[in-house]
Subunit: 430 residues, 2 copies
C-alpha cells in the first residue's frame, strides 16, 4: 500500500510522473488503436482538449512549464518489455493473442507525436495532429495530466497532516460507497475512471479498495497498467472516436449514414464475445438501432453513455425484442456519470430483465467533493476528442445535446442524415 | 509519515515491537524515578496491573505467549546512546541537566526487573516486585503492551483495505477534534496518552497531527521517545505513586498525615518553576489543601486528576485566594478523562481566572469508539499501580470513590487520618 499523503507531500514529478507508462491508458484505446492500425492507419486526425467546465480556469491554476514537463515526459515513454509481455501473453476476456504481432511490433517502437499547447485566456488549447493510431493514444494521458496537475495545484498549499486527513476522508468516503455496493446482489462493476482521475496513485488505491471490498463483483479496470500491476482483468470495448472519424471520412450522405455500421462491421471481424458491445449513441440511439443491420442484433450487448440511462436501456430492450432476441441474454453496460445512487437505481430496475454491468468512472476515481474549501477538488468535465479527420470536421450528437460537438452546419447535416429530432437535455456533471 | 495500515497489516512484532525504547515512557516517570533514586531507592515495592473494565476479557483476547514475548522484549532494552544524550543534553522547561550524572549512570545500566504473569480466568495477573526505582519503570510499558496487544488482536481479523479505512476514519475523527481545538483562543494542551494508547504508531501520528494542527497551542508530549524523535517538548510533573508509597511507609498516623507533604518537600528541593505542580487528590483534595504548608502556595499550579474537574479547580482557586495568592498567576492542569467537549467547557469556565492547561490522554491516543463492530476497539480502564511498599499495602482514595484502591480497613484508616467524608461518584470511562 502506498501512503498517498506522503507521496503527494513529497511530490517531485521525476519521482511520481503523472503518466508513468504507455499502458497507463484505457484498454479500449489499445483495442481501438489496433483496429485503426489495421483499417485506417493513414488517416490524418486532430485531437483537441476541451474543458467543458469553463468556470475552472485551468491556465490560471496550472503552470504552463509544469504542464509541458509532464507532456514532454509522456513523449519519452516507450513500451517496456514487461508491458509488451503482458499485452502479448495475457488473456483478455478469455482470449489469448488479442493483439497481433504486427500491432505489437508497431507499438513497441511507438513514440507519441508532438503536441501543440497555447494559453488562451484562462484556458489551455492543447491539440495533437498526425496519424490516427498515434494521435489517438494522447487522449487518456493528456486528460489524466490536466486533471492531476489541477489536483496537485490545489494540494500544494496544504500541510502534511492536512493532506493525510484529506486522503483519510476520501478513503472513508469511497469505502462507504463500496459498503453500499456490496449490498447489491449480483452486481457487476468495473473501473472506468482513468481519464478524469484525481491522480494515478488515487486510482490505484480506489481499484484495490474495490477489489478487496467487492470481490468478484468487481470485474476489473479499464486501466492497463493497474490491471497488470494488480493482476486484474483489463476491461473495455470501443468508443465514439471510431464512428466520429469514420463519419467525417464519408464522401456522401449515404456513406455517412452507413459509417457507424462500417465501424462495427470492422470490429465484428476482429472481435467476438464480450468485446461485441454496441455504442449506439454517437448520432442518436433510436435511429442507430432502427436502421441497424440484423447481424448487430447478435452482438453481446450495448453500452449506454449519454442521455437518460434508463430510457436508453428500455430502447435497447424494445429493439432486441422487436428483432426476436431475448434481452435477458443481453448485456447492458451503463457508463455515464454514475454514482452509487444511480447504480442502485439502475440495478434495481434492470437486473433480471437484462444482464446489467457498470463502468464506473469519475465518481469512483475523483470524488473529492466537499473535502476542501470552495470544493476546489471537485471533478469537472474535461474531454479530448477527435475534431477533424483528413481535414474534415468531426461531429458527435449523442443522446444529450449538452454533449454535442462539431460545427453548427455539420451538426444540422448529421441530424438530418441520422434523423435525430428533439432531444432531452441532461446536465453534464463529469 | 508512516502508513499505519500497512504496518499493522504486516505486523511482526520483531519489526514493530510495542515498546521500542526505555524512554518510550512518560517524562514524569523519569523525573519521579530520579527523585525516588535519590530519596528512597532501597524501598521494596510491588506494582500490579488491574483491568478496571472487567467486561474486557484480556486473557481471552490476548495470547499469553505473545504477551510474554513483548514483556521479555522490554527486558532486553537498554538506554541507547542517543537517548542518553537527549536526556543529558536537552532543555526541559528551559532548564538543562534536569537529570543528574549519578542518575544517568544508573539509568544507562538499567535492565527492567522480572515480571510475574499468571492467567486468572479471563484476566491476567501481572505483577512486578523489586526496588522502587526499577519496578516503577514497568508501569507505562506494561500498560502500553496490554493496550496494544488488545488492539492487534482485534485488527488481526481485518483486511488490508478495511484496515486502511479504519485508520482513515480514526484520522478524520482526530482531525475533527483538532479543528475544534484550534478554535479555542489561548488553548494550551499536551499529549498525556502514552499508557492507554491504541498503539505506538498511532500515538506518534496523533502527536504530529496535534503539532501541525495546533502549532504553539500544542505544548508537547509526555512521551519521551516521541518528544525526542519529533523534536517536541517532553511534558510532565509527578503522580500518585509518590504519596502512595511514602504513605505506606509511614510508621504512625502522624507520619501518614505528613507523608503527602514530605513527597512535595523532596520535590521542592529538586525542581522549580513548571515542575512544581501539586497533585492534591491522592487522599482528597480538600483536606490536602486545607492542611498544606505555606510554602506549597508558592508552587506554580495544581493538577486536577479525579472527581468533578470544575469543582476541583474552584477548590484550588478558593484555596489560593484564602492564602493571599492571585489565582490568575496559577496554573491549573486538567488531566482526567478529557475529550473536546470537556476541554471547551473547562476552558470557557476558567480561562482568565487561572492559567489553564490540559493533559489530554486516552481520548487523544485511543479514540476508536464507533469504528468497528461491537466497539471492540473502544478504550478501557487499565491501570498499573504500586500495591505495596516494604510489605505494607498502599492506599489511594482520590476525589472519586470509583478510583479508590487498597484494603478496606486501610482505606477506612486513611479516610480517618485525612478527614475524607462523603465523596461524589464519577463514572470512570478511561
Amino acid at each position: 500500500m502506498v501512503d498517498i499523503a506522503t507521496r503527494v507531500y513529497n511530490h517531485k514529478w521525476k519521482i511520481d510522473p503523472i503518466v508513468r507508462s504507455l499502458i497507463d491508458t484505457d484498454f479500449y484505446k489499445l483495442l481501438m488503436c489496433q483496429s485503426v492500425f489495421r483499417n485506417r492507419r493513414h488517416t490524418q486526425v486532430t485531437f483537441s482538449l476541451i474543458n467543458r467546465t469553463t468556470r475552472i480556469p485551468l491556465a490560471h491554476l496550472i503552470d504552463e512549464g509544469e504542464l509541458r514537463e509532464q507532456l514532454d515526459h509522456i513523449r519519452t515513454l516507450r513500451l517496456k518489455r514487461g508491458e509488451s509481455t503482458w499485452m502479448r501473453g495475457n488473456t483478455f476476456y478469455g482470449k489469448r493473442q488479442m493483439f497481433t504481432p504486427e500491432f505489437m511490433d508497431w507499438f513497441e517502437n511507438l513514440q507519441l507525436p508532438p503536441y501543440h499547447l497555447e494559453r488562451i485566456g484562462d484556458q489551455y488549447e492543447l491539440t495533437f495532429e498526425g496519424l490516427w493510431p498515434e494521435v489517438m493514444l494522447w487522449e487518456i494521458p493528456a486528460l489524466a495530466v490536466l486533471m492531476e496537475l489541477r489536483s496537485r495545484a490545489v494540494l500544494a498549499h496544504m500541510g502534511k497532516f492536512e493532506l493525510q486527513v484529506l486522503y483519510a476522508r476520501a478513503m472513508t468516503k469511497l469505502w462507504e460507497k463500496v459498503d453500499r455496493l456490496r449490498a447489491i446482489d449480483g452486481l457487476r462493476i468495473a473501473d472506468f475512471g482513468t481519464r478524469r482521475r484525481h491522480s494515478f496513485l488515487w486510482q490505484d488505491w480506489a481499484v484495490q479498495a474495490m477489489s478487496e471490498g467487492l470481490g468478484d463483483a468487481f470485474t476489473g479496470t479499464s486501466n492497463c497498467l493497474i490491471a497488470k500491476n494488480r493482476d486484474l482483468e483489463a476491461i473495455g470495448t470501443n468508443a465514439h472516436e471510431l464512428p466520429m472519424v469514420y463519419a467525417a471520412l464519408a464522401d456522401s450522405d449515404a456513406d455517412l449514414a452507413r459509417a457507424p455500421y462500417d465501424v462495427l462491421s470492422d470490429w465484428h471481424e476482429e472481435h467476438s464475445g464480450n468485446l461485441r458491445i454496441i455504442l449506439p449513441d454517437t448520432y442518436g440511439t433510436e435511429g442507430f438501432l432502427a436502421h441497424a443491420p440484423d447481424w448487430l442484433t447478435q452482438w453481446t450487448g450495448i453500452r449506454i453513455d449519454s442521455g437518460d440511462p434508463a430510457k436508453g436501456a428500455e430502447i435497447a430492450i424494445a429493439w432486441w425484442k422487436s428483432r426476436g432476441e431475448d434481452p435477458r441474454e443481453k448485456l447492458v453496460i451503463f457508463s455515464d456519470g454514475l454514482d452509487v445512487d444511480k447504480i442502485e437505481e439502475l440495478h434495481a430496475q434492470f437486473a433480471g430483465r437484462v444482464r446489467v454491468s457498470f463502468g464506473w468512472g469519475t465518481l469512483l476515481t475523483n470524488d473529492f467533493r466537499g473535502l476542501v474549501p470552495d470544493d476546489a477538488l471537485a471533478p469537472f468535465s474535461l474531454v479530448c476528442k477527435a475534431v477533424s479527420a483528413n481535414g474534415r470536421p468531426t461531429v458527435k450528437l449523442s443522446d444529450n445535446p449538452e454533449k454535442a460537438m462539431g460545427p453548427e452546419d455539420e451538426i444540422a447535416r448529421y441530424k438530418r442524415v441520422f434523423g435525430v429530432g428533439e432531444q432531452e437535455r441532461v446536465e453534464v456533471v463529469v
